[in-house]
Symmetry: C2
Subunit: 217 residues, 2 copies
Amino acid sequence: MAHDAALFLARHKIDGVATSEFADAWRRRYGPAMEEVRSGRRAFVRLDVLHRENLLAVLGDYGVDAASIPAEEVDGLNLAWHRLDPWPDSLSGLTRLKATRIIAPLSNGNIVLMLDMAKRAGIPWDAILGAEVVQAYKPMPEAYLRTADVLGLRPEQMCLVAAHNSDLAAARQCGYKTAFVARPTEHGPGQTTDLKAEADWDVIARDFNDLADKVGA
Amino acid sequence: MAHDAALFLARHKIDGVATSEFADAWRRRYGPAMEEVRSGRRAFVRLDVLHRENLLAVLGDYGVDAASIPAEEVDGLNLAWHRLDPWPDSLSGLTRLKATRIIAPLSNGNIVLMLDMAKRAGIPWDAILGAEVVQAYKPMPEAYLRTADVLGLRPEQMCLVAAHNSDLAAARQCGYKTAFVARPTEHGPGQTTDLKAEADWDVIARDFNDLADKVGA
């Protein structure tokens, strides 16, 4: 992400803004943009659309005339979200879990975002579920309840695996089982949130291999 | 499917009806039930729901009091649709295609139906798309157009691979590329429809390995 943003800023001679500052400003718009949908003020649109709108807005904040940048260049940077690398333990842990369980992302990321990420990295999900399929963003209960329904399962037959305590709290509220996998450097070395489990989640694991160990996969 | 139906009929002492006749009667209700949704007379419901309603109706046609059969037994037979075997060439052909293309079903079958089938057989789809994701049944144009949109692609960047000429005709109408793979025994040895390509589809292949050959995968 930072690398893609740096190239973009350099190519368009957007000076005087650090890459990390630009990326952070872009990411800060993520929550409020989704909240427009969650609140019902806006009909559901997928995350790629919100990311793109947010990118144009951030460019505007830095005084860049977004209209001067070819649409394909904007799309290209927006697709940086499709190229995130998995954590090093994810592939082996997920492959073990897949042998005896259905594994699928329940992400706010849209289908092709998750698909591109999985295809690039070789993540073996059984399906791509989440916000776009059920037309609701987490942590709204609909996101969890409708996803269970898509699978023909009751919430207590589902387990959310997440690195965010608030996500797990919302899932538990809906009846899901919960598993916490810490990702203490997700937001960089200075991360201050979600460094550890903040409730008695059903499983608390160091990584996906440890999760597979703990659930006997 | 026939095997599951035979066991069900025997277990519930439903005599005087041949398994194949029962299965055919069940399948005959598939089109009309979907048409209720396509016509707009009924809100979208997934195929598992239609299959289950149709099963209860067919049982009624044969004079069986469906209420006397435990719900789990009805569900069990309904899940026979989740246990269909792939054609012998599908796994190898799809695996070759997947190396350089996104592969996903654009089926009227719902997500967990396709997921169960894929997981049982090892089909390596990149995602499960189709009617439930876009809330529209083929051959409505929305089913094809919205699926392209989910992938962020234009219709001409999509290719429908199908054994049904009518499906390909509807996809072509929407701008898709088209590939025909004959399945001349899909409906048994006496099949009379879709025995061969009935238009100049972009690719006409004997099976999925031949398709992979023909598109250079």
